[in-house]
Subunit: 193 residues, 2 copies
Amino acid sequence: MNSFQKLVKQNRSCRRFDNHHKIDPQTLEELVDLARHCASAGNKQPLKYILSTSKQKNDQIFSCLGWAAYLTDWKGPEKAEQPTAYIVVMGDKTVADNFWCDHGIAAQTILLGARAQGLAGCMFGSIHIKRLADFLHIDDHLEVKLVIALGKPAETIIIDEVDANGDIRYFRDENQVHHVPKRKLSDLIVSTW
Amino acid sequence: MNSFQKLVKQNRSCRRFDNHHKIDPQTLEELVDLARHCASAGNKQPLKYILSTSKQKNDQIFSCLGWAAYLTDWKGPEKAEQPTAYIVVMGDKTVADNFWCDHGIAAQTILLGARAQGLAGCMFGSIHIKRLADFLHIDDHLEVKLVIALGKPAETIIIDEVDANGDIRYFRDENQVHHVPKRKLSDLIVSTW
């Protein structure tokens, strides 16, 4: 438990990477294999994946993502800090008509697996889907649910407690440390029986 | 990575438990604390939790759950094999109007955390919500997303490869071993760039 607890706490959404550190396709396959072993609503397993470690495709995918909505003066990492791999998580509409929270289960498992080997990443729900579908030749029967960006982390991220005003917006301090306010445990538990 | 991989593979949806093994409320709080450290869309953290280790409430929660849809001649575990704890995962509509896949991220983390300490569990999306809300006094602003049943596992679960017919329904063999057909990795990866 202790080591898993540590892993969860280390697993922060990371948006700046060491772009020199390359990731091989086999690493992405191993991460998807973790997702393959996860629970799926009704065991339908409707999720499909596109993997990218190619520089050209990575650039294209990058251009489809909305980076860090709360950092309004930051449009995303510069070249040297961009992700070196992506996993696109899609729901196959020929398999199921509702994907429930399968993509959350899968994406979290992929990110924990990445973190366990010293990588880090970020889930994106803010995606220019039409553009992405063009770039990656995504068929209409596949619904893009999330894009996971991956790389070797190159930023420091700290969890703070949400302040009295309840402001949950993350921010960067003067040293470029990224702060993420999280609610208190006691604010999340409604009742205990 | 290896030990995390092992944890993910051990973390099977479990539906039969040793009902003599009690779980204390603090264990549930620690599991929710793991979920508290997870990614949340826009960092809004709209999820709220109800915890139960009480025999009376557990019985009530049990009566609200749809157990193992594919095991048509099994209505759920008998008394001696029922879960000894529950975590109800809800979205707070005063915090967000869409919970995206936050509950998938949180529930998977909770189950991996449970598995890391020798417990096991199962996510339920098939819930008699009105009944559950009555039993647990759940306010209208909280939308029930999942119920997680927990306990000490008392069943053997094996992963099989999906057969040529593509049948994904889990089943129990003559020795009461639970088999879960999972799709092949190569069937999940659409393309690699």
